[in-house]
Amino acid sequence: MLIIQCPVCGAEGDETDFHCGGQAHIARPATSDPDNIADGEQRDYLFMRFNPKGLHFERWRCDRGCGKWFHAARDTVSLDFKAYYGITELPPADVMKQATGQWADFFKKATAGKPAVKEAAAKKIGAKATAARKTVPAKAKKS
């Protein structure tokens, strides 16, 4: 029963309050080049997934909270969450460096040349969420 923290609204809860969306950073072939997709590419997009013993990167949704999707870096052996970051972001640089195997290759390609998406600034886990938590009561008071 993992404890997970939403980086968007700051809520911390049991994993039953969240929904796991599987592997992160999967590019959908049809979005970029719909007329030029090999069968193998589509097959990989649908079915092939990384299965690391160690650092893994996943999509999660704050189902019972704010309803927003976010990313998490999680160790599949220790089950510790190493980072939470935005759904349009790549992981914080220091966490990305710890990736091994297929993930390491993936991030090497993803950050080569001009990165398509901004890397999340390296922060301590929870700092953004703690900040988010601080603002929530203030908003509630206004309404």
């Binding site: 029963m1 993992l2 404890i3 049991d14 994993e15 929904h19 969306g21 959908r28 072939p29 049809a30 979005t31 719909p34 007329d35 997709i37 069968d39 589509q42 997009y45 649908l46 999509r59 949704r61 309803g67 927003k68 999707w69 052996v77 220790s78 089950l79 759904i87 349009t88």
Partner: protein, 1012 residues
């Protein structure tokens, strides 16, 4: 069985747990027995002179009490009647109350005479894994002979068949420090942690704290261990920050220090239950730090026929005496390989129980406790082992043991000495209880000093102290416990309160253990001599050796092939002994062999505790439309659709369900019907990119839909399979209203959100579920317009002004409405939506307005038949997650213009357009009154018996009162090219139904009726 006086007299001054002034009357297998308040069923039955308490699983050998507590493997009883019955309870844990009715298990007709004993006679044919080799021939016997026999023979206890009337509770707590186990180590840990101000929870599976403090030697803080325990307990009560739970087993350790603990609140006291307390309580705990002080369990020694009633663990024997003043027998022997056996000998001797010999496998026994035994006049025989036992006829009671000299590596026994006895107290050493430590990835290492595994590393904030950590020395246990509590508190940070004083311990240290995994037997090796390793699953040393010979050498294979450690006791007393046998047989060291995986729960706990309050009406929330009460008053039959309740049909007086359904269908076809469609998903899609979003999620085009128009849309998954369908309406340039299936409503909103937030993040559009905000009804039938015209409205409902598949907004009967000309029945039909608060009002107005037209409420079954007559698909009936739009004849709905939409690329894969795919067809049975069963399989050729090649199945099947015959839809391989062909459906029971493949549209193929 009449008993000898096995209850020690009051003069023996034993029985710390019993109250002799309160006699309790209970029954065991129907026989009335008595005990004292504080007794367990095990102690009272033993005191009453009964030795046999159960029959073993495979061989049905008579078994008695062996263990001390929750590790007991054979004295399994069922307690309670009717819906309260609980099987497989360990008699050592069941506390007596007046009127308790306990029954033994796994025997027929009774415990003393069990026909199952025949298995023991044929044990040569029933070794480990025998069922992989037997029951093979003849094949015809599998279903009719072997299976019923095995089903009856398998299992131990009998589950209740009635509804459980008791309540169960769950509690969620966050604690700073959770201490698992209330023996002296755990208590010391709790003492230290609580003193520093932390919120502490201490849980122990026994009714009292102290663990084995009451049957051990050594002092703490100058007092007896039990006095020290009592003082700490009193401190915890008043401290306010140490919550003590007894009768509570910590059953599992999960991620991020999440722990489940099962508390048996009322099992020992029916009065509590009668006062309304929950029977069991499941604690869901998040702990900052966990201290495992789960103790250690004694292990038996494998000697020939070591399972006979009267042979028990030495610690169990002395617990019987100390706690319950119950003697294990009149005259017994101790068999040991370590010093703890001597403690039992002395305790028994001091209580007046005759101990005629202490048999020690060790050649040299120099320690203080052995001297004490000798000084007390006890006969110590070193360098010897038990080679065999003698019993009464039927093996129900041991009468003697046969002792032979022992040294490591010695094979067959030649010389032996016979010694009379009626009990044997065995001590093979102690195994740290490491289960909880391992549940979430804790590692173990083998310790040669204790000849067992002990905890090693763990990645979580969890530590282990005391004998669970392989320390059997009292001083080490208490000091380690205390230090652990201090460390845990420190690790949590915060202000440290005044620390408690470290307890001062005085105790003797013990001598070394000599491992003995197998005591050689008398006579021909293994002939009739079973060396039991797993007492609950009847796994012997021979079985383990057989597994090695047959190649099941990995410990995981050995476990599963022999079922070693797979019973309800989960190998607590058999795992290590089993590894010892394997080690001797293979020459590998135990650490090389390794252990199997420990999984929760540590001991079984009830489904009631797991369910908590989520039973009966609270199992699932029930969602009701605004018209629910009206449906109920009309006597509707309910159909659950997801969490919704929809009316299935409305049988009137004297009608069967089928009568009602037929009436409702004909009313819609001939007059006018009214359907509550409020449960259908409704999603508002609003924003400049609303049209773009719809084009991406549907197979067809929605950006071309004109404002005020409606279009039926198909939705695929990314794999190209149909997922949902519904009519979507354009309310404005940037505003659509999407309808989904009732079951899909919540899923599709989440689906749309996911794509918007994770893929097409630049789209400017909001999606909002409004399923519950609107009531929606379908008024359908030739008289539909006639009825609506009677109501006050500002909408022109005429055929010219309000075309099929379009939308109007306005007022009807005074209510604000959205009206859609959509038809699922194929008749003239208007779907009318009004905010839910007005729903009932509008419904009543419509029913009243239509009275003279014979307006008839129709339910979901009539709805399904009406749409089937028209060949409309239902997602989930005609589709099963592997069906494409092409398969159901809807290629027209798959846009060829759009460059991208969900599922497009997958749908283009060659195999999804291949020959022989199942395609949607209609079926007309050759006997028009025969209705095919839903899901019936079509076959290529009918044979007298399976297997037959299946070529498709029935997806929907009904009797159509409109056509006065049955209709069905099916997915048949290459169906579109088989029009007019006859296909066969062999049914259960031997009958075969034939049907002709036809178009799935059975009525009004041109669609005229909905267009009037």
């Amino acid at each position: 069985m009449t008993g000898k006086p096995y209850r020690l007299p009051e003069t023996a001054a034993r029985g710390s747990r019993i109250d002799r002034s309160r006699q309790i009357s209970f029954s065991f297998d129907g026989a009335r027995m008595t005990g004292f308040s504080g007794d367990t069923v095990a102690s009272a039955v033993l005191a009453g002179g009964r030795r046999v308490m159960g029959r073993s699983f495979k061989y049905h050998r008579p078994r008695g009490l062996i263990g001390l507590g929750s590790e007991e493997m054979n004295a399994l009883i069922g307690v309670g009647e009717g819906g309260r019955k609980e099987p497989n309870l360990r008699a050592t844990q069941v506390e007596l109350y007046d009127g308790l009715a306990a029954t033994s298990q796994n025997r027929w007709p009774n415990l003393d005479f069990d026909i199952g004993i025949i298995n023991n006679k044929f044990s040569r044919f029933l070794p480990g894994g025998f069922y992989y080799k037997t029951f093979m021939w003849p094949r015809s016997f599998w279903e009719k002979v072997y299976e019923p026999f095995i089903r009856n023979a398998a299992g131990l206890g009998e589950a209740a068949r009635e509804h459980d009337p008791d309540t169960y509770e769950q509690m969620h707590v966050h604690v700073d420090v959770l201490v698992v186990g209330g023996g002296v180590s755990g208590i010391a840990a709790a003492q230290a942690a609580a003193a520093s101000g932390k919120r502490v929870m201490l849980a122990d599976e026994n009714p009292v704290l102290g663990g084995v403090a009451d049957i051990s030697t050594g002092d703490i803080d100058g007092a007896s261990q039990t006095d020290w325990v009592a003082a700490r307990r009193a401190e915890f009560e008043t401290s306010g920050n140490c919550h003590v739970l007894t009768r509570t087993t910590v059953v599992g350790h999960y991620h991020h220090n999440y722990v489940l603990a099962a508390e048996r609140v009322c099992d020992h006291d029916p009065d509590l239950l009668a006062q309304g307390a929950p029977r069991h309580r499941l604690w869901k705990i998040r702990a900052g730090q966990i201290i495992v002080a789960s103790g250690a369990l004694e292990r038996p020694i494998a000697f020939a026929n070591n399972d006979r009633p009267g042979i028990m663990m030495a610690s169990a024997a002395r617990a019987m005496v100390e706690r319950y003043a119950t003697s294990p027998g009149m005259n017994g022997v101790i068999f040991t390989n370590n010093d703890d056996g001597y403690l039992t000998a002395l305790k028994l001797h001091d209580a007046g129980v005759a101990v005629s010999r202490i048999i020690d496998v060790r050649k040299d026994v120099p320690s203080a406790i052995a001297d004490a035994a000798r000084n007390a006049g006890l006969n110590v025989q070193a360098g010897a082992a038990i080679a065999g036992v003698e019993t009464t006829s039927g093996g129900k009671q041991i009468t003697a043991v046969k002792i032979a000299p022992y040294s490591v590596g010695r094979g067959r026994v030649v010389n032996e000495e016979r010694v009379d006895c009626d009990f044997v107290a065995v001590s093979g050493g102690y195994n740290p209880v490491v289960h909880l430590w391992c549940h979430n990835g804790g590692k173990l290492r083998f310790d040669d000093d204790i000849q067992s595994f002990r905890p090693d590393r763990h990645g979580d904030p969890i530590m282990v102290v005391g004998s669970a950590n392989g320390n059997f020395d009292l001083k080490a246990c208490v000091e380690e416990g205390f230090a652990g509590g201090e460390t845990a508190a420190k690790a949590l940070g915060g202000k440290a309160a005044k620390p408690a004083n470290k307890p001062m311990v005085k105790a003797e240290s013990a001598g070394p253990i000599e491992p003995i995994w197998f005591a050689p037997a008398t006579g021909k090796y293994n002939e009739g001599n079973k060396h039991f390793i797993d007492f609950q699953n009847d796994v012997t040393a021979a079985d383990l050796e057989l597994a090695q010979r047959e190649g099941y050498e990995s410990v995981e294979h050995t476990k599963r092939y022999t079922t070693l450690g797979m019973a309800t006791d989960q190998g607590k007393t058999s795992n290590i002994n089993g590894l010892g046998i394997i080690s001797d047989a293979t020459g590998k060291r135990i650490p090389e062999i390794g252990t199997t995986t420990f999984r929760p729960p540590y001991t079984p706990y009830s489904f009631g505790a797991i369910a908590g309050t989520k039973t009966g009406e609270l199992f699932l929330p029930v969602r009701r439309t605004a018209i629910y009460d009206w449906h109920r008053q009309q006597g509707a039959n309910w159909e659950p659709v997801g969490q919704w309740r929809r009316a299935y049909c409305y049988p009137q007086a004297g009608e069967t369900k089928q009568d009602a359904i037929n009436r409702e269908i004909l009313a819609v076809r001939n007059k006018v019907g009214l359907l509550d469609a409020s449960t259908l998903g409704k999603i508002e899609i609003k924003g400049p990119d609303a049209a773009k979003l719809l084009d991406l999620v549907y197979t067809n085009m929605f950006s071309t839909l004109k404002v005020g128009k409606a279009r039926y849309g198909l939705m695929m998954s990314e794999m190209g399979f149909l997922m949902d369908d519904g009519v979507t309406v354009r309310l404005g340039d940037d505003h659509y209203l999407m309808h989904t299936t009732s079951g899909g409503a919540d899923n599709i909103v989440a689906w749309l959100e996911e794509w918007l937030q994770t893929e097409w993040t630049s789209l400017k559009v909001f999606v909002t579920s409004v399923t519950e905000q609107w009531s929606q009804f379908a008024i359908a039938g030739p008289q539909a317009r006639t009825v609506l015209d009677k109501l006050d409205t500002d909408i022109d409902l005429s055929a010219e002004a309000f075309e099929f598949m379009s939308y109007r907004e306005g007022r009807l009967a005074g209510y604000p409405v959205r009206v859609f000309r959509i038809s699922f029945s194929g008749e003239l039909s208007y779907e009318i939506a009004t905010p839910s608060g007005y729903g009932r009002g509008l419904w009543d107005a419509l029913m009243q307005a239509g009275e003279s037209e014979g307006i008839t409420a129709y339910g979901t079954e009539a709805l399904h038949v009406l749409r089937a007559e028209k060949g409309f698909i239902v997602i989930g009936d005609e589709t099963d997650g592997t069906v494409t739009p092409h398969d159901v004849g809807m290629s027209w709905a798959v846009s060829k213009k759009k460059t991208d939409f969900i599922g497009k690329r997958s749908l283009e894969q060659a195999f999804l357009a291949s020959e022989g795919r199942k395609q949607l067809v209609g079926l007309l049975t050759t006997d028009p009154q025969e209705v095919l069963p839903d899901g019936a399989y079509a076959v290529e050729t009918v044979k007298s018996a399976p297997p037959m090649k299946m070529i498709g199945h029935v997806t929907s099947s009904y009797f159509s009162p409109t056509l006065q015959r049955s209709i069905a839809m099916a997915l048949i391989e290459g169906g579109k090219g088989k029009m007019g062909e006859t296909v066969s459906f062999p049914l259960e029971g031997g009958k075969t139904v034939e049907a002709v493949i036809s178009s799935p549209v059975f009525l009004d193929a041109e669609g005229k009726r909905q267009n009037v």
